[in-house]
Structure formats: structure tokens, C-alpha cells
Symmetry: C2
Subunit: 358 residues, 2 copies
């Protein structure tokens, strides 16, 4: 099988690289940023490397159209992959636990959800909550199901180590242009590049969605999400393996502010503690630090497609053979949730190209 | 308890920081380099950060004098700590397995070792090997015992995460001078600094001991060490959790060469495969890369002592109170093996100072 370069070492790049390696390709990841023990990471320097900071859990998004249905399939694939990974590799940083959802203003797809429909959608251990289970009167709909959380630093490092032990390479390098990947001397003869850069490289549809969360030392037995009537969200994502719990959070399209807001922190913590009192059962919230990251979002949603590049478009190429770029970016805040579904699709797109050349 | 700055995030700095934190101090680690998933690390940039590359296992050094006896106590403390850590935190990156030793030219302390003496020294599951167990006729003495190995990247990241979740801080920063640590604005009022820099800061007794090893993808059920008649060593250190197995190795005092030698690689691999054929039972050795690191060694051995610094020696200090530096560096290749014993001693040295000030 051929040599492939994957650009980006976020959760999408790492997952796609492993999937391609599993199919027999020699894979090299080229990335500016790699997983780091987040406690020592310079948060400002890594503000665009969001996998590091991800609230890394699975929250089911109920599909209402074909695009959402496709993403739902990706999340199911990822769910099954997380189950299999945990059973084989307990050190991967994955835990399964209860996922709880509260809505003040549920959309019709939630209001109409029955246990039967939920099970058809693949939601394990699904249960509709009753009024007595709600934290307050503003909540009018709620449910719980079995889901997964990861400690992103532990999980991403695990993926990178696994890639390496199976013969994959990693190079820390900043590319100015996608085509530059075809000219890297250390990996000659590359015909396919997979673009998991997040930022897309000059894609005008990409923009950052700022997220501010607060990391607390408290552990939490569930991942909890609350939608407020004003459209804001309050949630927690436990990160076991000494990663604390992330309390969130904001979703601010095109906000470039690097600094955490102390007011936002105070609001996030108090509203979450009110929504899910078990988190303060053993004592008050112990904040360890604020986290600001920029989710790489894209108008029109995920870009997941193959692009053919004529040889004469790549300056400096030594032959006349066309090249391919498989794009996989623009997942916003859903990178971890959809990662293995996207990786599977990347594999199909790479394979199509190989077949078409036979 | 007081605020303490620990300089260095190698295995000694991380262990000392955790020990002091456990005693109630607020600890901040200041370091130039932090644990990284080594597959992505720039080996040349990190050549002086040896915990990253460490052949991280416990090999008993039989004591023949008081200094060696002290180190033996440190290694026993570390052994017990590794057992306790593994039972509580399976994700720490620690595994226990058989340690095997072969000697072509054993010193008297080995020749005279009986099972009874070994058990008195604390060597669990100790067994003298018979001639029929030796790999060839050059080996004249051998033994096996139960011991531990760690995947250094997984283990050091675990220590850092644990420090953080318990409230510790980490700052990436390069100090020019030890006293600079007393002037860091982010951690005001520090009276005690712990110097786990490895390099010592202008200690003329410190020199680097170059080590070249080769990382292979093969797994190995034991950590094996062979002393050759010419004084060279052949060994393997398994690094489970997708870290492969390190085959070594050289010990070259004051050799500053950054480049791995292909001849050395070839010699290490072939001599180890001959010494321990089980490693090639499932197929030939699969090299993943050469590793060159510089063990921070010190003439006269470990420096582990408290130094008092008069206030007027620290330029820029705002008060007249003397400060203390606890030095803990110069462990050569034995950092992981002695880490928890050294951490315990650091704690005692910090405490002495506090007591003397009461």
C-alpha cells in the first residue's frame, strides 16, 4: 500500500492515520501541535489546537435531516469503536458512564422521542426522565443513556503511541500550504494527503468558535448537559485519569478573545452546581483553571471529500502524476464524537482514489 | 505549609514535587522541558531531557559500601512505591515482570550472593540461575527476580497530571540561574527551592553520560541485563502501553555526539537477540528508531543536600530573609530506580529547614 501523509494531530488526524495504517498504508503525520500533558501546555500558544482542550464525551444529536443522519451514523461508529478500544486497552483514557440531558425548551425531535425510537437510533440504556428527576421547574424534558467520556490528553497520546508502535511516523512541522506536503523530502513519492488540519488552509468557510470552560478537580459520576431557554448551555464532562472535570461552556462564533472571562467562569460554575448538585456532594467546586479554545467550525458543516490536483498545480513536483487530497475538517465541537466515523469515511475516500487508478 | 518551587520536570522533579505536595506544600514546577508523547518529540531538541528516553526499569545494584547501601534503600523505597501506585492507578504505565541478569565477569558481591542474602536485601522472587539457563558459555553467573518497568512517557505524564489535579502548578520557563526561582512573580514569597534540574546549574562536577539505545516494536516478557567481559552491557527494557522495547545500550561519559551510530545499533540488536532469543520468537526485531540521550551524571555521585542562601546573595530580593535550596540531582542512569527514595529525602531536607526556623 502507498505512503500517505496526514496533516494534523488532533483527534481527527490521529484517528484517520490509525485507520489508514490498519488498512496497510505507511502513514506519516505532519503537524504543528501534538498532544501534550495539558497541565504544562501554554494555553495561549495552543489555542488553535482544540483536541487538547476538548470536552471529550458523546452527546447524541437526534437527526432531523440527511446531514444529521450521516453524523449520527458517524457517532454510532465512534461509540462502538470506543467500546472496543476500552475493552482492549484500559489505559486509553476512556470511561463509560451515564449521560444526562435536561432541556428547558426542547425541539420537536426531543419532545417526540420515545424509548422505542431511542433504541432504534442505537441509544443504549435510554430512559426518559420524569418531572421529579428534574433539577428545577424550568426544565421540562430530560433523558439519560449510557455514553462515553475520554481524558483527551491521555486518549490522544494513546492514539499517537499506538500509531508509532505500528510503524507510523510523526513530524513536528508547520506547513504554509497543503501542496507542500507532496514535497516533503523525508516522505518521498506521496500521492495522497489527508487534510485534518482543522483550519482547512485558506477555506473561506472556516471560522473559529470560541469556547470557555473551567476545569475543576471534583470528580463527577455522569456527563450532564442542560439547554437553557435562552439557547445557552451548561454542561460537565468528566475527564478521569487525573484530568478533573470540565464545566462549560460557551459557543461563540468568530470571537477571537484569548482571555478567559472571570464573570463567565463564575456563571458557569454556579449554574452547573445548581443543575447537578451531586458534583458538590463532597465539597465545593475546586477550580484548577480556565480553558479557552477555538473549535474549528465551517459554514456548511464538515468537509469530507476527495480533491484531485493536477501535477502542474504543485510547484516543484518532479513527475507528472496527479495527486489527491482527502479533506476531513470543520467538525466544530464534535471532533471526538464523530472521529471514528470520519476516519472510516477518509479510508473509503482514499480507497476510491486507489481503485480509480487501477 | 509553604510555597515551594521545584526546578525540573524529569522523574526526580515530578516525584519530589508530588511528595512535597502530599505533605501539604503548594508546589509549582518550573521546567524547560516537560513529558511529551515521545513519538512526536524532537529527539535533538530534547537530548538533555533524559527522563523522556529512560530505560525505565529497576535493576538491583548490590551494595558494597555505605553510599551504595543508601542508594539501595532508595531503590527499595521506589520499588514499594511502584507496587502501591500500580495497585491504585493501573493507567500509570507501570508493569511488574521478571528481571533477568547474566554476567560474564561477576564481581565478588554477585559471586557470593545466596538466596538468603538476596531475600534479606529485599529482592522478591529471587532465584540463582543454573548453567543450563545461560544463553552461552561466556556467561558464568545469572539470576532472576521480580521487578518493575515503566513506559516513561506514560508514567511521567501521569505524575504531572496527578500533581495538577491535586492543585500543583507547572510553568514552562528556562532559568539562567537557581536564584532566579526566588524572584518569579507568579509564585511570590518562596523560601525553598528544590533543584532537580539534572544539570545542577554550574556544578563543575556534572557531566553528561551519552547513551545510545534502539527502540523496537517487539514486546518482551522480561527485562534482561547482560554484563560482558569487556565491561560493556547489553539489555532490554520493555515499555508496555504501546512504547515498544528499548534495546541497549551504551554508557559514554563526556561524549557529546548527538547522532546515533548505525554500527552501534547493529551491534546492540544482534548481541541482545543472541543473549535473549525469546524476543525474536515471534519474528525478527523491528526497529522503530534510535535514541540518544545524555544522562546527567556527577563525579562523587548524587548531590542531595540543603544549602542556605543569604538574602543579600539574591539580587532583587525585596526582604532580608535567607532562602534555602535543596539539591537533588546527578543520578546518572538511575533516576527512575531511585526516584521515590530521593523524593522522600528531599521531603526530609525541606522539613529540617522548616524545623530549624521554628
Amino acid at each position: 500500500m502507498s505512503d500517505i501523509i496526514v496533516i494534523g494531530a488532533g483527534v481527527i488526524g490521529l484517528s484517520a492515520a490509525l485507520r489508514l495504517q490498519q488498512a496497510g498504508h505507511s502513514v506519516t503525520i505532519i503537524a504543528k501541535d501534538f498532544p501534550t500533558p495539558f497541565e504544562a501546555a501554554d494555553k495561549r500558544a495552543l489555542i488553535n489546537y482544540t483536541s487538547q482542550w476538548g470536552g471529550a464525551h458523546n452527546r447524541w444529536v437526534l437527526p432531523t435531516n440527511p446531514a444529521e443522519q450521516r453524523e449520527h451514523e458517524f457517532s454510532l461508529t465512534t461509540y462502538r469503536h470506543m467500546e472496543a478500544t476500552l475493552s482492549e486497552f484500559p489505559e486509553a483514557g476512556i470511561t463509560f458512564m451515564k449521560g444526562i440531558e435536561y432541556f428547558e425548551n426542547p425541539p420537536p425531535v426531543h419532545r417526540d422521542l420515545t424509548v422505542e425510537k431511542a433504541l432504534q437510533l442505537g441509544l443504549e440504556e435510554f430512559k426518559l426522565l420524569e418531572k421529579k428527576d428534574f433539577p428545577d421547574d424550568k426544565v421540562v424534558w430530560g433523558c439519560e443513556y449510557k455514553t462515553w467520556c475520554v481524558n483527551p490528553m491521555v486518549y490522544c497520546s494513546f492514539l499517537l503511541r499506538r500509531l508509532h508502535i505500528l510503524g507510523g511516523k510523526a513530524m513536528a512541522m508547520e506547513l504554509r500550504n497543503l501542496n507542500e506536503a507532496f514535497l516533503v523530502k523525508a516522505v518521498p513519492g506521496v500521492k495522497t494527503v489527508v487534510n485534518c488540519s482543522g483550519q482547512g488552509f485558506n477555506d473561506p468557510a472556516v471560522f473559529p468558535t470560541r469556547g470557555q470552560t473551567c476545569l475543576v478537580a471534583n470528580s463527577c459520576p455522569a456527563t450532564v448537559t442542560r439547554q437553557n431557554a435562552d439557547g445557552s448551555w451548561s454542561f460537565c464532562v468528566p475527564r478521569n485519569f487525573h484530568g478533573g472535570t470540565v464545566i462549560g461552556g460557551t459557543k461563540e462564533p468568530d470571537n477571537w478573545d484569548l482571555e478567559p472571562s472571570p464573570e463567565t467562569r463564575a456563571r458557569l460554575l454556579s449554574s452547573f452546581a445548581a443543575t447537578y448538585p451531586p458534583i458538590v456532594a463532597d465539597g465545593p467546586l475546586q477550580p484548577l483553571g480556565d480553558i479557552v479554545g477555538r473549535r474549528p467550525t465551517r459554514r456548511g458543516g464538515i468537509r469530507l471529500e476527495r480533491e484531485e490536483i493536477a501535477a502542474d498545480e504543485i510547484k516543484g513536483l518532479q513527475d507528472n502524476e496527479a495527486r489527491s487530497i482527502v479533506h476531513a475538517y470543520g467538525l466544530g465541537g464534535r471532533g471526538f464524537e464523530l472521529s471514528w466515523g470520519v476516519a472510516e469515511e477518509v479510508f473509503e475516500l482514499v480507497k476510491q482514489r486507489v481503485s480509480s487508478r487501477l
